[in-house]
Symmetry: C2
Subunit: 792 residues, 2 copies
């Protein structure tokens, strides 16, 4: 299936070309940097060259004397407005512009506003900051050492860099299982710090109308309503006087959930100058200072019988949260969905401890299409299973098949208290193995090993928990996890759907129109989807954690069904029969037993806008809304198989083949689902083989450009081979589970498992990501742990 | 009470400064002509110099060769798009650009689009139209003559200029009453053609995005949603792909209800050029070609006993509808609310016939703050009562007092079948007479007459029927008369209200915020009112016929009450009591018997957005909507007394004093109510004394500028003295009746009655408007009927 085929528009679910692509492929998308307002000024951020330093003075006089500079804002300016510090979304505060100290390289120190962006940049050079360098904490594992410098001395009574301890599971039961296990396999591993590097960097245009007091903020956020509420709570701006507009967004992946200092500076800049102010990161700023992902030092142990029955898991994690505790870090459960670290297996017990620490690195952050830490958890457990297979000498696919949860176990309550909704895991794995030709590949591998050629086959299986909330699992700012959908059918039968979630390129304009189409029989072409504008849409928590379809999709379906029921009553008045005598067929209500007596949705829409005599209590028009509060998460899953060829001499890895069998429940638009999977698989190849945010021992950022921070291209990716199973979520109105993050979550382990499998002739049992040629070569030399990245 | 006083914001109804004035008085309103889009082009309309002529040819080649001209659109261009004719809102069609004939002076013939508006205007001169002049029909009374030229030969089978005959009341009963009446007073009178002349003329910016197919139309309409539906139905544009934005509007008065050819030309211009196209009338174009008002030739008869008990009314009207049948003419009842022509009196029978005819004048049109023809009806009956008083030799105030409906008669079904909702008419008249000092004035008048000085006292009483629908009384395009309101309370307790009605300066942003404030106890300062944007508001028929408060105000109050009920359930969960144990006090729900246990709306709002455990079926957030379908009209009324001094030698009239006692039911903001009354009274003085759209016998328009079409200024107006009674409408959620048109409806008769009263020593029994110095002088010479305006 390709997106370029000509194909008819389905009246509901099915493959259809993306409606939004008409404008995207013709270059007519409108991104924040495309916004030009009359009189608009431009801001630029001065950033710290040090990872840790005391600020002795900031002299802005020369910058202010620049003929094109309109204003220079420092931490001191903001302190006067009580805005020098802002709360993060994770029970912490973050400096908007540093006043006392800088705590990571790239931290925001001053904001220059000038007539054009070149002058603003130039004037940054004219600001004289006197720093007193301090020793930095770079390695999270040393952050709690007694002699480690205290990074967050701004916090009352702080004497160390500890943020939180969090645990899940039953420690006693787990220790007991490990005590009686026949086999225990342990492995230290690192999930390095990476960055989603969306195509579009972050930015904003803030425009405060002094007359009306209204702030209009065009910004690259995935969560416009949450941002509005935060600005209202934090800056004291009245919430009804804030309009957040997220126009087209060039990729998010979690990077665009948080509130960054630049946003606040743009707002203050507009207040100070009385003009609209644009602030737009360059690539280096985005890579250096916005939400990173991962950075987990993990020690995992897996307990099993000699026959390969997995009994338990024991995990310890040191989580590096950077200098401030995360803009997208769930507050109630500090480690978030790492709670489902037990993966897809039938265990007796499991226990996990996570310790979060501050370091002198950019604040995090869990972001990167990760289901809030499930990526790390899946990687950990899928690597451990392979390590166990290595130790036991059994086939890793076979070992998984023995231990996967069985269909009859669903709904399944995990050992950490999460209720998996539905699935047939063995079927998905079987399908993947068949599709890839597993037996033949193993035969080919054996033959190649005879010839000294390195070929590897990696298997991974993942379960995600997506569609956040309900609030028992997540809590941002004390707000709930409900999202709204409002559906309005116009007099002529065309419709508009307003959503609280926001798209960053995932195809919402198509998918959500198809949901309405499926429920009402209005063509998706006749349904506009509106999002990304708080003035035009209902409240909701936005798009992250694959929650658009699970939450907003449910709200949409329910709203459409309410319209359908309302239409039924109007139709009954039009046809002069009781509503009970009507039957629904997609697009029309007809009289039972007399299908020719019917009214289409568009006829009903016109009548509903006319002053038809409606039964008592039924109002006119044909609108309905729903606020959907998910009763549970949804649990997509999948089985991936990766085949690699490795050049032993150069360490070069070639991904030859990749089969991904995903189950995201009901598929609304297979083309979009497959596109999401393609993107996530590329992410997985990138993380496994090349992506890493590295720092030197002074805390200098080593990945500030795409020359240093490598992303996969089509050259590094095979032609993806996709398969599917469909297990609808039983608690979801349309049985959809979400697909946005599945492949990113599931694929890194498959690639790493394949490479390690390839290196088996060299005795390699584990090797840390990213498996660059150098790392692969080193692993063949018995050096699998990335000591070179120990300081990431 | 003045609007400039500093005063606290009331938490509900009461005087408060208008929220919108902060931007208006500082020059920050945004009107259509303030809209500037990138690459925007400018259109200009070529208009017919003839009232009636055949078009032989239109040569646009020279105009198209103009270096700054982008396109020239003619009727032929439009015919190719099937758009040369458009339906009016009154079962008729109107030429967008003339193809066969021109039918009034100023009719649209071609549309030039150029880089700037000066070039567009210049290029109009380059278009060569070959006309064959035809004899015009200018006097409506001659339109049905056998030799009258047929204006609408475009209509199949048309052989005359007749549009409709319409009657109301019981002819037999009325003839019977007249047969046995002791006194019958008859009078011919003219309500001349006038024009509301809003400060802002009509215009639009049309912007069709070829990529998305979306038409964004900034336009000066009072009814954005109805316009959208019409464009969808007529031009075949998909309704969800049309966004109508009415930004700030500089006055409407009905003039901005209709769809004018210029709007359609701007749309076609944007389609043709691929650029945004602005079209903005100049003053002369607005006066010549947009919806006029009145133009009724009326013969009224009033039957009474010798003691002055009024028994019946008999009316014949010739209604001049111009060349096309009205853009704002109700279709179901061609003469609309002229149905309430029986006024405020207790009659035995009444009958009225209206004949509508085509003439070679601009199309109408009932517009001008007239409650759809009630202005003419009130003028007619109030003049007839004075004529009867003249004939009987009784005081006109006394005669009214004897015949007004009595409070115990309400709800009162009129002899033409309209159900008046509530009122105490004698009380209002008594109040007005007391306030003006009626007895003392009569004494003064008597003394002055002794001295040969002309002083007059005029009384009028009016009843309006406003708040259209329900549909049994009105029907536009088969659409109902329901309007929607959507209220959203944000997490921090600030609110936004979205309305289908649209303001033209009446203060909706304040009034509607106060309605919500009254119901919820949120400060009006914390409530934003959104209107005038079909993408942001629910469907509705818009603002006309004083229906904003009666219809949208009711929708708002009901929506707010729904929010209150939803808040009650959330509060009950928060306070852990049953909803039945809660009591409401403005702004909070508290536990009965324990007022300290309470939750404010803002606390409840935050909780409703959190994932609070709500009872089954109660969704999160704190939003509600209402589509209000009025069960009846509301019936504002009032008693007016005008005092004039007349200079017998020059004919100059000076309005010395004017007392207006209005009853519009519950008053939400007295300042705004009084402002509306002030404006309407000035309108009344203008119509009575100076305003007239005159034509010469060739159909040439004689009022194309404010040098010829005179409007009253503060110099012609006295300091208005207002009074009030408050009789809530029993069927309305908040008892409000509407005030927008009352003074325009009620005041012309008071002024004319005063002038005629002043001229009594000269034996004047009636004189037609406008009572210019010349007309007054002529009336003193025994020439009261405006034969000079016979051809209007």
């Amino acid at each position: 299936m390709t997106a370029t085929e000509e194909r008819p528009t389905p009246m509901g679910y099915g493959p259809m070309n993306r409606k939004e692509d008409a404008r995207f492929v013709r270059g007519h998308g409108t991104y924040v940097d495309d916004i030009v307002l009359p009189g608009m000024l431009h801001g630029a951020v001065l950033r710290s060259p040090y990872a840790h330093a005391r600020i002795l003075s900031v002299d802005t006089s020369a910058a202010q004397a620049h003929p094109k500079v309109r204003a220079v804002i420092t931490g001191e300016t903001l302190a006067g407005l009580n805005l020098a510090w802002m709360p993060t979304l994770s029970h912490d505060v973050q400096a908007v512009l540093a006043t006392d100290k800088v705590r990571f390289q790239g931290q925001e120190v001053a904001f220059v506003i000038a007539d054009d962006r070149y002058s603003a940049r130039d004037a940054l050079e004219l600001i004289d900051v006197d720093y007193e360098p301090l020793p930095p904490v770079v390695d999270a594992r040393k952050a709690l050492d007694a002699d480690a410098p205290v990074i967050r001395d701004d916090l009352e009574g702080r004497t160390d860099n500890h943020i939180f301890d969090w645990e899940t599971g039953d420690k006693t039961a787990t220790d007991d299982v490990f005590g009686r296990a026949e086999v225990v396999a342990a492995q230290d591993m690192l999930y390095p710090r990476v960055h989603p590097a969306p195509m579009e960097t972050c930015g904003a245009v803030a425009d405060l109308d002094k007359i009306t007091g209204k702030l209009t903020m065009y910004t690259t956020t995935q969560a416009p309503h949450a941002h509005r509420t935060v600005y209202a709570m934090v800056a004291g701006l009245p919430e009804h006087k804030i309009r957040i507009i997220s126009p087209d967004i060039g990729g998010g992946f979690g990077n665009k959930v948080g509130i960054y200092p630049g946003y606040v500076c743009a707002i203050v800049g507009s207040i100070v100058t009385g003009k609209p102010v644009k602030w737009m990161e360059d690539r280096s700023e985005n890579l250096m200072s916005t939400s990173f992902a991962r950075d987990y030092h993990m020690r995992g142990e897996i307990a099993a019988t000699r026959e390969g029955k997995i009994l338990g898991l024991r995990v310890k994690v040191i989580a590096d949260h950077g200098a401030f505790n995360g803009t997208a870090q769930p507050t109630k459960f500090p480690a978030g969905f790492f709670g489902v670290f037990t993966g897809s297996y039938d265990l007796e017990a499991a226990h996990c401890e996570v310790t979060g620490v501050y370091t002198n690195k950019a604040p995090g952050g869990v972001a990167y299409a990760c289901s809030f830490r499930i990526t790390e958890a899946v990687y950990l457990v899928e690597r451990l299973v392979d390590v166990l297979a290595y130790d036991l000498g059994v086939d890793p696919a076979e070992l998984r098949m023995r231990n996967l949860l069985r269909p009859e176990q669903f709904p399944y309550e995990s050992k950490t208290g999460w209720e998996y909704d539905s699935g047939d895991y063995p079927k998905a794995l079987r399908l993947a193995l068949e599709q890839v030709g597993y037996e033949e590949l193993r035969a080919e591998q054996a033959a190649k090993r005879e010839r000294g050629e390195l070929m590897g086959i990696g298997v991974s299986f993942f379960t995600e928990a997506v569609g956040a909330g309900p609030r028992k699992h997540m809590d941002i700012l004390g707000l709930g996890m409900a999202d709204g959908a409002e559906l309005r059918v116009h007099p002529t039968g065309k419709a508009v759907l307003r959503l609280s979630c926001q798209t960053q390129g995932q195809g919402h304009e198509t998918t959500f129109a198809q949901i309405v189409a499926e429920e009402l029989g209005i063509s998706p072409d006749d349904i506009d989807v509106v999002h990304g504008d708080t003035d035009q849409t209902p409240f909701g928590l936005g798009t992250y954690g694959s929650r658009s379809t699970p939450v907003s999709g449910a709200a949409t379906a329910v709203a459409a069904r309410r319209v359908r029921e309302r239409a039924k009553i109007v139709a009954s008045a039009m046809l002069e029969v009781s509503p009970d005598d009507l039957e629904w067929e997609k697009g029309r209500w007809f009289v039972k037993g007399d299908p020719s007596a019917s009214k289409t949705i568009s006829e009903i829409a016109l009548a509903a806008h006319a002053d038809l005599e409606l039964p008592e209590g039924v109002e006119g028009h044909l609108d309905a809304a729903c606020v959907y509060n998910p009763p549970n998460l949804t649990y997509p899953f999948g089985a991936y198989v990766c085949v690699v060829d490795v050049d032993a001499e150069t360490g070069q890895v070639k991904v030859r083949k990749f089969v991904a069998v995903d189950d995201c429940g009901v598929r609304i638009n297979p083309i979009i689902v497959e596109g999401q999977v393609h993107g996530g698989l590329a992410d997985g190849v990138g993380m496994a083989l090349m992506q890493v945010m590295a720092f030197d021992e002074d805390g200098n950022h080593l990945g500030g450009s795409f020359m240093d921070y490598l992303l996969p291209t089509s050259m590094e990716c095979p032609s993806w081979e996709l398969g599917e199973t469909v297990t609808p979520s039983p608690h979801h109105p349309i049985g959809a589970k979400g697909i946005g993050e599945s492949a990113t979550v599931g694929s890194p382990a498959a690639v790493v498992n394949a490479v390690v499998d390839a290196l088996r002739p060299h005795g390699v049992r584990h090797a840390d990501m990213p498996l660059t040629p150098a790392a692969v070569w080193r692993a063949t030399q018995g050096d699998p742990i990335r000591t070179d990245l120990a300081i990431t």
